[in-house]
């Protein structure tokens, strides 16, 4: 059995309708109306020990909701979850010992205690033996540089420091599984890089299984081989990141600036996807037409002032999938 199994997972929230005005308030005392919100619809995946999986999707896709079900603080409406052989919501405390969790949006450290005190508290909560505690702390000090701020109360830490403290705290009890919900949110470039190195290292050295959600595709590209892409609570892709790149990587975008007096541009072999004034974005499939052919074609009827060819980075591939769905783009629509 895989270390994490998710099968036909559903979660719907009932949201009480807030009535407006006094009459509404009185009415709601007697009868509350609810609207249903399906946050996760029929998601299945399984993750093997030691894997590092990017769990991505646009805002409100249901990522955090899924993570919460994996931690046991949300009960699924339907479907099955097992984490390290345990059903999280049935056995929350046992599950807690197997997992480390970081919610980038909020700290789980004790707000008014110095950072070190939070660690000592966690040591007692998870019954980490002295020796392991010292060893782990030494590693965290070294890679995450905790000693800079170990005596500062958590509420006074900078975002980057807090995030470093949070991830160290999540790993103090050597959990075999780590859930990271936006661990790089709000970090500067250097801090992000450090965080990634750290995650990579613990995955490699300790074989920690990691599920990572993020809106920074660089995180995914640098850390994960596999990604699960969800949208509106449904899984749209599950597989290698390389495969996505292969599949969508053939698409290029030619950006041309034309002379200001030019008439409207028409091209064949590419699709005009955007236009701002005299700047045109033309998407084309590398296998069907070469950039130079396109340029030659345009320059026969128009004067080109400037041009660039954009290669799709994973970032733009994903954002296109968000916008247009996961279907292969073969359009050679002529505009």
């Amino acid at each position: 059995m895989s270390i994490i199994e998710v099968n036909g997972l559903h979660k719907e929230f009932l949201i009480a309708k807030r009535e407006t005005g006094v009459m509404g308030a009185i009415k709601s005392l007697f009868k509350r109306e609810f609207t249903k919100k399906e946050a996760v619809k029929d998601i299945s995946f399984s993750i093997e020990k030691g894997e590092m999986v990017g769990y991505i999707g646009p805002n409100g896709a249901g990522k955090s909701t899924t993570i919460k079900m994996l931690t046991g603080i949300l009960v699924p409406s339907a479907g099955e979850v097992t984490v390290n052989g345990i059903i999280p919501y049935e056995n929350r405390q046992a599950n807690a010992k197997n997992i480390g969790v970081v919610f980038g949006q909020r700290t789980q450290l004790w707000w008014d205690l110095p950072t070190i005190e939070s660690f000592e508290l966690l040591k007692a909560i998870y019954r980490v033996p002295d020796k392991r505690y010292k060893e782990n702390m030494a590693i965290f000090q070294e890679i995450l540089g905790l000693d800079e701020f170990i005596n500062t109360p958590v509420r006074q830490l900078s975002l980057g420091q807090r995030m470093r403290a949070d991830i160290a705290a999540s790993l103090l009890h050597d959990p075999p599984i780590l859930f990271l919900d936006e661990p790089t949110i709000g970090l500067d470039v250097v801090a992000k890089e450090k965080m990634r190195t750290f995650i990579q290292e613990i995955n490699r050295e300790k074989q920690v299984t990691v599920i990572l959600t993020t809106h920074d595709m660089e995180d995914i590209e640098k850390l994960c081989q596999r990604m699960v892409l969800i949208d509106h609570g449904q899984k749209v892709y599950d597989g290698e990141i390389l495969a996505v790149k292969e599949r969508f990587g053939k698409m290029r975008t030619l950006v041309v600036d034309l002379e200001e007096t030019s008439k409207q541009l028409y091209v064949t072999g590419g699709a005009l996807v955007k236009q701002e004034g005299y700047r045109y974005w033309i998407r084309f499939n590398r296998d069907e037409i070469s950039a130079s052919d396109l340029i030659t074609q345009i320059s026969q009827t128009h004067n080109i002032k400037d041009l660039t060819v954009e290669e799709p980075v994973i970032e733009s591939i994903i954002s296109r999938i968000y916008q247009e769905g996961f279907t292969e783009q073969h359009e050679t629509v002529h505009i």
């Binding site: 919610f103 004790w110 008014d112």
Partner: protein
């Protein structure tokens, strides 16, 4: 054993954390003493030179107020209602469901730490001096002291259960003003913290006697000043124990409903 050790760590950390908020200790002590002076003066005026009222001597009444303010200080050093409400609203408590400990128990043990700190650094020294320099009645035998401490501790636990329960109701309510009003009314009046129950009109006294709040102030203080004595002491302790069990069960029920709500509805 390991369990207890873990909760004990919360006590130690809370003790240390309290030392960070030295200003809070001072301001809390200040307001505690202001209220002591205020209620002391009110009762002095009410007695108006009389030796006795409702069969209770002026000295005993003054002692009642002083002990009451001491217990007030002890109880207020725990996690206050507004803080529990805040932790519910921000989702801090919901997130603690992810930890391998029991949430209400962990808050209780943390409260032990904050209370211990406040008692050692402020309450005990100050009230020791008050008893030294004021004309107050002290229990003469050691047993009364022991019963008082036991009774006050039961009262503390009951207050904890009640306050936590009221705080957790925030999970179910959009508007918590009503809850706060009821809580503070019960804590200040029905508990007998500023007016002993024997001065209540009959109907109110009856109500108060059938509620758990008298266990927090009225019963332990009455034991202290000797108004409750002999076998009555055991009746009182029995009543307190009964209410502790009831309040604890209610807290458990509300906590189960609250955590159920968190895990089903997401808070």
């Amino acid at each position: 054993m390991g369990q207890l050790n873990m909760y004990w760590t919360f006590t130690k950390k809370a003790f240390l954390r309290s030392s960070v908020y030295r200003f809070e200790v001072w301001s809390r002590t200040g307001s505690n003493l202001i209220f002591l002076v205020m209620w002391g003066s009110i009762w002095t005026a009410l007695y108006a030179g009389k030796e006795e009222a409702a069969g209770v001597s002026f000295t005993a009444m003054l002692t009642y107020i002083v002990v009451s303010k001491f217990l007030d200080g002890v109880n207020e050093a725990g996690t206050p209602l507004w803080d529990i409400q805040e932790k519910v609203r921000t989702g801090d408590i919901s997130l603690e469901l992810m930890r391998p400990f029991d949430v209400p128990l962990r808050y209780l043990f943390a409260d032990f730490g904050s209370v211990a700190f406040y008692m050692l650094t402020a309450l005990l020294p100050i009230y020791f001096l008050l008893f030294l320099f004021m004309d107050l009645t002290l229990p003469t035998d050691g047993f009364t002291w022991i019963y008082f401490i036991l009774s006050a501790f039961l009262g503390f636990l009951i207050r904890y259960c009640v306050e936590m329960t009221f705080g957790l109701l925030t999970f179910f309510l959009v508007e918590t003003g009503g809850i706060e009003d009821i809580f503070y009314f019960a804590m200040s009046l029905l508990s007998g913290s500023v007016i002993p129950l024997w001065f209540f009109p009959g109907w109110l006294e009856t109500i108060a006697l059938y509620l758990p709040f008298q266990s927090i102030f009225f019963l332990p203080i009455s034991i202290f000043i000797g108004e409750i004595n002999g076998s009555q002491i055991f009746t009182s302790l029995g009543i307190q124990f009964f209410w502790l069990v009831v309040c604890y069960l209610i807290l458990r029920l509300v906590w189960n409903r609250a955590s159920h709500k968190v895990v089903v509805q997401g808070g």
